[in-house]
């Protein structure tokens, strides 16, 4: 059995589900720390963040959306307080890009176009992000394989300790990936998201390892 294809499975036991982008952004110690600048975003950009979040997690028949959970201000705050400088810059640039493209494609600010148009635009940005991440991860994988080949050809004494934690590969912070991560985090941990999309029980009091799934059962927050 050849199982060299080790997968990045961060902390299965803690139940965390962070994307690769988030991991690279949050744990890469080489990044310059972010500066908590009050003026990182213009007031229009703050509005833009709220609207984009509401496209990522909109209101449906089943539960309210990101706007109702006040996710926009949460994202702005998180970018200012919890992200390194390169991610902050990429995020601002991403907002500018959305606005430029909205004007080019629809002749109006993102704040003024219809939900359908917003979805179209965000879908494009998403597809480009997926493509960019694919290019980067392919390149990283290639580099890693090359590194492993070089490593294998070294005399044993010079080889890196095979048990060591490898430094995370540098990935470019992507606006949409960050926006989506923070929208999901902010929404599902908000009171609205946790109690109306998910189901929140503060003190379960017991554990039942095998219950029948009820119709309409929601995920436990």
């Amino acid at each position: 059995m050849d199982r060299r294809e080790a997968v990045k499975s961060v902390a299965f036991l803690i139940g965390g589900a962070l994307s690769a982008t988030t991991i690279a952004t949050l744990f890469d110690s080489c990044n310059e720390p972010g500066k908590n600048s009050e003026n990182l975003f213009t007031s229009d950009q703050e509005k833009l963040i709220s609207e984009i979040a509401d496209i990522i997690i909109p209101t449906t028949a089943k539960s309210p959306g990101a706007k109702a959970a006040n996710v926009g201000p949460f994202i702005s705050m998180m970018i200012k307080e919890c992200y390194p400088e390169d991610a902050q810059k990429a995020f601002v640039k991403g907002l500018e890009n959305i606005e430029t493209r909205s004007k080019k494609d629809f002749g109006k600010s993102f704040l003024e176009i219809s939900v359908k148009e917003r979805e179209q635009l965000i879908t494009k940005v998403r597809d480009e992000t997926v493509a960019a991440q694919k290019v980067e991860s392919d390149a990283n994988e290639k580099a890693m394989k090359l590194e492993m080949d070089i490593e294998r050809n070294k005399p044993e004494k010079e080889r890196a300790n095979p048990t060591a934690v490898k430094d995370p590969q540098k990935t470019t912070p992507q606006f949409f990936a960050i926006a989506r991560d923070l929208t999901m985090l902010g929404y599902f941990t908000s009171e609205v998201g946790a109690t109306q999309a998910y189901e929140y029980v503060q003190i379960p009091g017991r554990y039942d390892g095998c219950v029948d799934l009820k119709p309409g059962q929601r995920v436990w927050a």
């Binding site: 036991l13 110690s29 089943k62 095998c210």
Partner: protein, 566 residues
């Protein structure tokens, strides 16, 4: 002169315990219950049970950053932030790394909590006995020195501490996996039950899967409430439902009326008296005022955490003990070990779409060691156990990459795939060259020199990890789990927070620091009963063993004291 005598009398106790974590709390309880006046010294602040668990009842949306760290926290906690334990949820339980630097000759992740209760507040609570397989292995394969005890020496003390602490779990009657005095086990979920059945059938119980044995109460016990299944233990439990100093040993010690607890007391040196050839007390730095104060006692228990204790011993030099207290062997600071982990497999369980769980269980399943047991011989020595579990998340298989929108939200709000994973915890060997020593080129916030740590895993661990990964995948596949993927995320010493060794027990004073009673060979009234005493790591989570060794050492120390031998 009179004043000094009076001050000395005021500062004199029967026993001093250095450190208030898992083992220090036990030492305080045992010694006070045996009638000794005990001074319990803790370098950090006090944390009062329940009252000071400030985040324990917070709802997810009451955390400003929803658990994540700010750039400012990452800057002040460059070590603590390296792995998952340091989060917004209990950030005040972890040290500011800038206050207490250390030198990494090689990377070593040192997780610390300076407060009453120490890591007993944040520990993982998994509680397993060591067996004679473990106690005999050093002697058999020649790594490290022989354990000076065998299972029969410690078994009654495992009984004793389990009964008090409250450990839930199943008796299994499985070789080298001693049963104990357990509260009812937590329940496996339906996927885990199925995996258990299939693995045990496939290997004819040559491998077993049992419910994690954990220091969480499944029923009320000793006046403490039972687990409420919130899975928020690391914030401190308002129900007292897991074992910690605060919930368990400290109240018992306080109840005797014999305990004095002094927080903000960083013990900087054990004072050696060359007339009696014993320790006469300790010198502390008040960590708030920087005042230096001396306390005196007939016996000293050192429970400052593995590396904290060894730092204290190395820092306690005198003309008679120029290389650290009780370090005639030269072994003090050597043979540092930790478990290696972050290696295993996971996959998806099919056929349970109509089942879900209720409540959040802060526990998983356990597969005890089966490698290098009996006729099994591998290309490495020792072995590993697995921790793991199954859970059902909101993730569904058909979700596109970076999906968004209303349908996506509605879909991930419903229970999706079941996943099941197994992660190995492997034994590491006691290598003499894996060591710590005092580095005088730096100072901590309190003016002390710092520890230099030079430790790495080696070939034996690397070989074991291949089995840890492949065996996990094989068993999951045997159990019908689909889409099984292996992982090896690498493991740096320190990450498991099971650091052990550096003041090992042994039969021979020439090659060990402590005798079979955790008593220093060379300084008979000093006992060291935390992780530093371990001659090997085994692969089981170690804290229960520290508890048992501590209670056993306290019993011996008081008997010896009464006999006038120390």
């Amino acid at each position: 002169m009179n004043l000094n005598t009076k001050a000395t009398a005021q500062n004199t106790y029967d026993a001093i315990v250095v450190g208030s974590g898992i083992s220090g709390g036990w030492a305080a309880k045992e010694l006070t219950e045996k009638g000794l006046k005990v001074l319990l010294l803790e370098r950090g602040r006090n944390i009062e049970h329940i009252k000071d668990y400030t985040t324990a009842m917070k709802k997810p949306w009451e955390f400003e950053h929803r658990g994540r760290l700010t750039e400012a926290q990452k800057a002040s906690h460059p070590v603590q932030k390296r792995d998952y334990p340091y989060q917004e949820f209990n950030e005040s339980f972890w040290v500011n790394d800038l206050d207490c630097p250390y030198t990494e000759i090689k990377r070593f992740d040192w997780y610390r909590g300076f407060h009453v209760g120490g890591k007993s507040l944040m520990w993982g609570r998994q509680s397993y006995r060591l067996s004679d397989l473990n106690f005999e292995e050093n002697a058999k394969d020649g790594h490290g020195v022989d354990w000076p005890i065998r299972y029969k020496d410690i078994a009654p003390w495992y009984d004793y501490v389990e009964k008090f602490a409250g450990i839930s779990g199943s008796n299994e009657n499985y070789p080298h996996f001693p049963d104990g005095h357990f509260l009812p086990p937590m329940e496996m979920n339906c996927v885990e039950k199925s995996v258990k059945e299939r693995i045990e059938k496939k290997y004819n119980r040559g491998r077993i899967m049992t419910m994690g044995r954990t220091a969480n109460l499944t029923v009320e016990h000793g006046g403490r409430g039972s687990c409420q299944y919130r899975n928020l233990c690391s914030r401190g439990c308002p129900f007292g439902a897991y074992f910690s100093t605060q919930s368990s040993t400290l109240p018992a010690a306080v109840a005797t009326g014999n305990l004095t607890l002094r927080p903000f007391s960083l013990v900087n040196e054990i004072i050696y008296d060359k007339e009696t050839q014993k320790a006469k007390g300790v010198r502390i730095i008040d960590s708030e005022t920087n005042e230096h104060i001396e306390y005196f006692a007939k016996i000293v228990f050192v429970n400052g955490s593995t590396l904290g204790s060894t730092f204290l011993l190395l820092n306690s030099t005198s003309p008679e003990h120029p290389n650290g207290l009780g370090n005639g062997s030269g072994e003090l600071g050597h043979n540092l070990m930790d478990h290696h982990f972050r290696c295993g497999a996971s996959g998806q369980a099919e056929g349970f779409d109509d089942k879900y769980t209720y409540g959040k269980r802060a526990n998983g399943v356990y597969i005890p060691r089966y490698r290098n047991v009996g006729n099994d011989k591998r290309d490495y020595v020792r072995g590993f156990g697995y921790q793991g579990g199954a859970s059902r998340s909101g993730w569904h298989n058909d979700i596109a990459e970076l999906a968004f929108g209303g349908d996506f939200k509605d879909l991930i709000s419903t229970p999706g795939i079941w996943s099941m994973g197994l992660g190995g915890f492997g034994e590491s060997l006691p290598y003499h060259e894996n060591r710590v020593y005092i580095d005088k080129s730096k100072k901590d916030k309190w003016g002390q020199p710092v520890l230099a740590i030079d430790c790495e895993f080696k070939d034996n661990e690397a070989k074991m990890r291949i089995d840890m990964m492949n065996d996990a995948a094989e068993m999951l596949e045997d159990a019908g789990i689909k889409n099984v993927k292996t992982y090896d995320n690498g493991s740096m010493p320190g990450m498991a927070i099971h650091e052990m060794g550096t003041a090992r027990m042994g039969l021979d004073p020439k090659t060990s620091v402590l005798n079979k009673w955790n008593q220093m060979h060379e300084v008979k009234n000093v006992f060291v009963t935390d992780g530093s005493c371990m001659p090997s790591t085994a692969c089981q989570n170690p804290s229960l063993t520290y508890m048992a060794l501590t209670a056993r050492a306290c019993d011996f120390a008081v008997t010896e004291l009464k006999k006038g031998n120390i």
